[in-house]
């Protein structure tokens, strides 16, 4: 991924994130989150994680954030009024965040850096030997394309089969829980 694209998407993402806290109107905040996630999805794609980038857009932006917007509109929330607040929590929060950033920079300056390995036709073709010959994955790899979705599917249904099933149960439980919570309680 060319450097300038990385910085463009990073800037979109961080500005979106900053706008989330800056806006008073919840709807604006929610749309800022969407912006932030679009930038994030760009970064994912830049990291050759095409599938994750797509579900970031589809699931997070398309489903979860729409859910947020639904709820905001359902509750009909007004703008948060400007409150005359004591400065202490604001300053405390900023100091906390600042300390965190300082620590982050400290950690990163100490840890060894690493560049991304090249994913060209040779390396991909070499990797194809680990997959059944003639299969879709091997074929794609030999052709010099990264079969991202196939690889994730392969990993998910071989190494992560049990967690995947459990995840299905979790979603079911969450669905039932949400129904139970949303039901109008008998007075």
């Amino acid at each position: 991924m060319p450097s300038y694209l990385f910085w463009i998407f990073s800037t979109i993402m961080l500005i979106g994130g900053a706008a989330v806290i800056a806006f008073r109107n919840p709807v604006s905040s929610a749309l800022s989150v969407v912006t932030c996630f679009v930038g994030l999805a760009g970064l994912f794609v830049g990291l050759s994680a095409f599938f994750v980038g797509i579900i970031q857009i589809l699931v997070y932006t398309g489903a979860i954030m729409v859910l947020f917007l639904f709820i905001i509109m359902l509750l009909d929330l007004k703008d948060e009024e400007k409150r005359t607040k004591s400065l202490a929590p604001l300053v405390g929060g900023l100091v906390l965040v600042f300390a965190f950033v300082v620590q982050l920079i400290g950690v990163l300056s100490k840890s060894p850096n690493k560049s991304a390995s090249v994913l060209d036709q040779q390396t991909l073709a070499a990797a194809a030997t680990h997959f059944p010959a003639g299969g879709k994955i091997a074929t794609s790899l030999i052709e010099g394309r990264l079969p991202d979705v196939h690889l994730i599917g392969h990993t998910l249904f071989t190494d992560y089969n049990l967690p995947f099933q459990i995840l299905g149960v979790l979603l079911l439980v969450a669905t039932i829980g949400v129904i139970a919570l949303s039901k109008k309680q008998a007075e």
Partner: protein, 595 residues
């Protein structure tokens, strides 16, 4: 287990059984009474035996602490008095306390008292005497305070206990001194080495005498006895007339027998005699102005105890013990008689609200009269013989004391005649006295038995059972002493009869006597205020500030303030929690990565 041990421990077993096994049972009074009668029977069986039984209770180095029983004429005779009066008082109490709500406690207390008193009488060493001495104090406290709901009764019990404590402190010092002097605590082995100076031995005896001053209510610790009349009347008869107060005299005489009369010859004996003499005099003077029937008898008891102590001090302990013997019967009679009167008059104790009781309660009246005759020493009653012997001893040794005693012999008929004339003769002075009627047989049978004893106890055929009696006890001589006491009797009784017959209120008023020489007041206003209150202030400081403030309150306040401190952290603010959480994350990173 021979009879002597049964005699000692039967009342204890009964008291324990009554308290622990049968606390609510209706048979407690009967059990207690049966035990008193049984001890009387055992006392008769043991009469005159001379034996010693003992076992080691504790051994400390080469010192053996013994629990032992010494049977001789003194102790067996004394046991007759204790169990005899005790049994009759028990029987009397069956009727007197019939309607009391706490009569089980009362009879348990009586059994405990019988045990303690038996212990004092039978003890063969000083440690045992002291233990039972304190037990007597305890049971006396319990019985005086039987109606503890009344504040005056609770205060009287406390006062009795505290006064006894004062005396007992001296008693303990005296015991230790005697132990140091003679090297033994056993009565039978006690002998004073010739090397000991008479001053030291005298001081030891005076310390021992302190115990007797407390228990036998001599000056200046006499104040508890009149107040102890707050207890039930049978208790007054048993404890505060016949037995417990006599324990001091008994113990003194026991010591006199053990270490020999020579040790008492000197300032110790003289001091004892004068304390006794002045107690007799002052108590008799106070008695002349009391209106409460039991208080008159209480002061007369003080006065008679003064006689006995005086006799012991005059080295005539036999005469003293003889007087103790006769006095026990007639004073128990008078107290039980007054109890019958009080019972009949619906708990009226003021003699000026009685009157005419002789006609309404003939048996009580006549028996009371017999006791009264013995007390004022009408010739040929028991009191006459015993008092005569004390006067004789005083006449021989201390003429001054003789005249004091003779003056007391005038006062005694005076105040007793006043009591009898006002309460029993004339006409009824209140409704309660008007409605009085004769008491039940259970109450008058003890009175009759005691009145017979009051008459005959002085004669030789009875005084053979006395704890001690001079050789010519019960003999009658027309001599100087007889005329002195006869004239004293006539003057006292005659003056009182002329003064009080037919009167509705007291024609005499002597505030000094009525207010008991202000001794109680002095104690209350000086001793109590300055000592008790100061001590109470110190205790209060300890309790309030150190215990309550620092230990108890401090701990709880510490816990509460620590809790409040942490309460502040629980603000309920979501942001505060997340801030704390973030701070924790940063600290963890700091400590793991940068440190």
């Amino acid at each position: 287990m021979n009879l002597a041990w049964i005699l000692l421990f039967l009342p204890l077993a009964v008291a324990a059984a009554c308290q622990l096994v049968l606390p609510k049972s209706p048979i407690v009074p009967l059990v207690s009474t049966a035990s008193a009668v049984a001890t009387l029977v055992i006392s008769f069986l043991l009469l005159g035996k001379i034996e010693t039984h003992s076992f080691n209770w504790a051994t400390i180095g080469d010192f053996n602490l013994q629990i032992g029983i010494q049977l001789d004429r003194l102790s067996t005779g004394m046991m007759i008095v204790v169990t005899g009066v005790g049994a009759l008082v028990h029987i009397f109490s069956l009727a007197y306390m019939k309607d009391d709500s706490a009569k089980n406690r009362y009879f348990t207390g009586l059994a405990l008292f019988m045990f303690s008193m038996t212990g004092i009488v039978l003890a063969n060493n000083f440690i045992m005497t002291f233990i039972f001495w304190e037990l007597v104090g305890l049971s006396s406290y319990l019985l005086i305070g039987h109606w503890y709901q009344k504040e005056s009764a609770a205060d009287a019990a406390k006062k009795a206990f505290l006064c006894n404590r004062v005396g007992d402190f001296g008693f303990m010092v005296g015991i230790l001194m005697l132990w140091g002097i003679t090297g033994t605590l056993s009565f039978s082995e006690m002998a004073v080495p010739a090397t000991i100076s008479s001053g030291v031995i005298g001081a030891a005896i005076l310390c021992i005498f302190c115990g007797a001053v407390g228990k036998s209510a001599q000056l200046p610790l006499h104040v508890w006895l009149p107040d102890a009349m707050e207890g039930p009347t049978p208790v007054s008869a048993l404890i505060h007339a016949a037995t417990m107060v006599a324990a001091g005299v008994y113990m003194l005489f026991r010591v006199q027998l053990s270490i020999g009369t020579e040790a008492f010859d000197g300032f110790a004996g003289t001091t004892i005699a004068y304390v006794g003499g002045f107690t007799a005099l002052i108590a008799a003077l106070m008695a002349t102005q009391q209106d409460d029937i039991k208080r008159v008898l209480a002061y007369s008891t003080l006065s008679q105890l003064g006689y006995m102590v005086m006799a012991v001090g005059l080295l005539a302990g036999e005469a003293g013990m003889f007087h103790l013997f006769t006095h026990a019967w007639f004073k128990a009679l008078l107290f039980l008689g007054s109890g019958a009167v009080i019972h009949a008059c619906h708990h009226e104790q003021n003699i000026w609200k009685m009157g005419g009781l002789l006609k309404k309660m003939p048996i009580t009246g006549i028996t009371f009269f017999l006791g009264f005759a013995a007390l004022i020493a009408v010739p040929f009653t028991s009191g006459f013989f015993s008092k005569e012997l004390i006067l004789e001893a005083a006449h021989e040794k201390q003429p001054l004391l003789f005249w004091i005693a003779a003056f007391v012999a005038v006062l005694t008929p005076f105040y007793m005649t006043r009591l009898f004339v006002v309460a029993f003769l004339g006409k009824a002075k209140s409704d309660n006295a008007d409605h009085a009627h004769e008491v039940s047989p259970l109450m008058f049978i003890p009175l009759v038995i005691l009145s017979i004893l009051a008459l005959i106890a002085g004669y030789g055929f009875v005084n053979a059972y006395a704890p001690a009696a001079p050789e010519h006890a019960g003999e009658f001589h027309l001599n100087f002493l007889f005329w002195v006491s006869a004239i004293a009797l006539i003057i006292g009784a005659g003056a009182a009869f002329l003064l009080y017959a037919g009167k509705d209120k007291d024609p005499l008023s002597i505030p000094l006597f009525k207010n008991r020489f202000y001794i109680d007041g002095i104690y209350d206003h000086f001793l109590v205020r300055y000592f008790q209150d100061a001590f109470a202030a110190i205790i209060h400081f300890f309790d309030e500030f150190l215990i309550n403030g620092l230990l108890v309150g401090g701990l709880s306040r510490g816990a509460a303030s620590t809790g409040n401190l942490f309460r502040k952290l629980q603000s309920g603010q979501l942001q505060a929690y997340s801030f704390a959480f973030g701070l924790g994350v940063i600290l963890v990173i700091y400590f793991t990565v940068f440190l």
